[in-house]
């Protein structure tokens, strides 16, 4: 059974004659426990798909079903306990006036989790932050630390699916490596399903198994990461992306 099933998804902004489509006629499936990547350049609609799944895009059409539940205009409480999202900008994803403790405990309160105190300690451990970080404000944290808190918040209610919107693109290379390792470990430990958006093929290649390449709101191609490594892309656009990205000197 697919964890996520998207059929003919269209997302648009504006009304009537000024309607512009961010996503047009996109269909794909993500299996349980799989890690699926969405790549493309800016404006290709990849982040919009994620937001549509999360319920943050108001105008859409098509059919979406997540964990067996078909999605309507609003999301249910059970949806939120199964699907969570990590955002791109670590400097914008935490409320500036709330401590880490407040962020995590509120998330757990909303989901009715018990033993909040103990679970906070465990969550911080899971994402590699010690107890000393618990009562800090966001401005006392570095970019990498903030992103870890954002991941902890996403894991607070024990979801099975994580939507990752370019989680490392705003981070330094060495910090990115730590966060990517963390994401790999967490997926293994908690048997998570990932849908990850990125413009960086190296990052996607590290974390994902299959990739959807997007251009202008549509899918150009869906291929496995293995095929991508062997440069066996079928669409010329994908080839072009691959060539522009391969800049390793080793």
């Amino acid at each position: 059974m697919s964890a996520i099933s998207i059929n003919n998804l269209c997302v648009w902004f504006g009304v009537g004659a000024e309607r512009s489509y961010a996503v047009q006629d996109v269909s794909f499936d993500v299996a349980d426990g799989e890690s699926f990547g969405l790549v493309g350049e800016s404006g290709s609609g990849k982040s919009t798909i994620l937001r549509a799944i999360a319920g943050l895009a108001p105008t859409w059409s098509g059919k979406m079903s997540v964990a067996g539940e078909t999605l309507g205009p609003k999301r249910s409480k059970s949806f939120y306990s199964k699907v969570q999202m990590v955002f791109q900008d670590p400097y914008a994803s935490l409320h500036p006036r709330q401590t880490v403790d407040r962020v995590l405990s509120e998330a757990m309160n909303l989901h009715g989790v018990e033993n909040i105190d103990r679970r906070i300690g465990r969550l911080l451990d899971d994402v590699g932050l010690g107890p000393g970080f618990r009562f800090r404000y966001p401005h006392q944290l570095s970019g990498g630390q903030r992103q870890r808190v954002a991941i902890a918040r996403a894991l607070a209610c024990d979801p099975s699916i994580l939507l990752l919107d370019e989680p490392t693109s705003a981070l330094d290379v060495s910090v990115q490596a730590e966060i990517l390792n963390l994401l790999v470990d967490l997926r293994r430990e908690h048997k998570l399903t990932y849908v990850m958006v990125s413009h960086d093929l190296g990052v996607v290649g590290h974390l994902c198994e299959r990739i959807g390449v997007m251009k202008g709101g549509r899918f150009e191609e869906v291929l496995t990461v293995d095929a991508m490594r062997r440069s066996e892309a079928q669409s010329p656009y994908t080839q072009h992306l691959l060539e522009s990205s391969i800049n390793s000197i080793r």
């Binding site: 350049e41 330094d172 290379v173 060495s174 490596a177 490594r229 800049n247 080793r250």
Partner: protein, 287 residues
């Protein structure tokens, strides 16, 4: 004649007075820049952007600059009065920044900004400036210069905006170009295009290029010489082609922490920051 290097820096410090003491952003670095492409690589907080701004003396209080030597083509600029400094900025040393959205004036057309940039440094008539602006737009591979001349910055794409920025900075024929993360805000395919243009212009005009970036691989492919900065100091310097033989653990760590499509690994190498790196003296990159 072997003339003086275009830029000669010795023991540059950039400090900030804060409530809890003096914070050193750049701690005693030295390097020279000739008619070459020099890449300065570092992560956030390494001091690389501060270095670029220090060369143009764009550090405002509470920051201040200290250096044993800061020469542009043999001329000491540390002691230059502000009026002369203004002529130097843009006239002999230019800077391109990361995001054209924030570095182009949103209420002036592209053409107006180009003309203003030129007339600030050379006494030319408006029509002459107009003509030179169109020429330089053509040089940065903008296909319809006349149409773009009348556009506002929000009406052009990111890549085009960056090319306009380059055009604007190169109009007054500077000797040195400082590029601070010029392609980080651009899409991958546009990045190569913009880099090609910078490369061509720098080569054709015999300029020196200081390319500041966080992307080690990009700099290795694009520059002739590389300087790697950490915590305000230079930890290593080498020729671009010899990067794979880098010695310093920080450089190796940076190289190894980038996920490589062609060489998959289960876990990426995590950089173990040794406190000794901060304390070690800066490596001189003077040629």
């Amino acid at each position: 004649m072997t003339d003086a290097p275009l830029l000669d820096l010795e023991n540059l410090w950039v400090k900030f007075r804060t409530r809890s003491g003096v914070f050193d952003a750049v701690r005693g670095i030295s390097f020279t820049l000739g008619k070459e492409r020099l890449g300065i690589v570092g992560e956030s907080g390494s001091g690389k952007s501060m270095t670029g701004r220090a060369v143009l003396r764009l550090i405002r209080p509470p920051g201040f600059i200290e250096a044993d030597r800061l020469d542009v083509h043999g001329e000491d600029i540390l002691s230059l009065p502000e009026k002369r400094m203004r002529q130097l900025r843009g006239g002999r040393v230019s800077m391109i920044m990361q995001d054209p959205k924030f570095s182009l004036n949103p209420v002036m057309t592209v053409g107006q900004q180009l003309v203003e940039a030129l007339r600030a440094h050379e006494k030319v008539s408006r029509s002459e400036a107009h003509k030179r602006a169109l020429e330089v737009l053509d040089e940065v591979a903008i296909r319809d210069p006349k149409r773009v001349f009348d556009l506002y910055p929000h009406e052009v794409s990111g890549g085009m905006g960056q090319r306009i920025m380059i055009a604007m900075m190169l109009l007054p024929n500077p000797e040195i170009l400082i590029a601070d993360e010029p392609t980080s805000a651009l899409d991958v395919s546009v990045q190569l295009q913009v880099l090609d243009i910078i490369d061509k212009l720098v080569r054709d005009r015999g300029m020196g290029l200081m390319f500041i970036s966080h992307d080690l691989n990009l700099v290795a492919k694009f520059c002739d010489r590389i300087i790697i900065m950490y915590a305000g100091r230079i930890v290593e310097t080498c020729k671009a082609g010899e990067l794979r033989n880098a010695q310093h653990p920080y450089t190796l760590g940076l190289l190894n922490s980038v996920p490589d499509l062609e060489h998959p690994r289960d876990h990426l190498e995590v950089l173990k920051r040794d406190p000794a790196w901060r304390e070690a003296p800066s490596v001189s990159a003077r040629v």
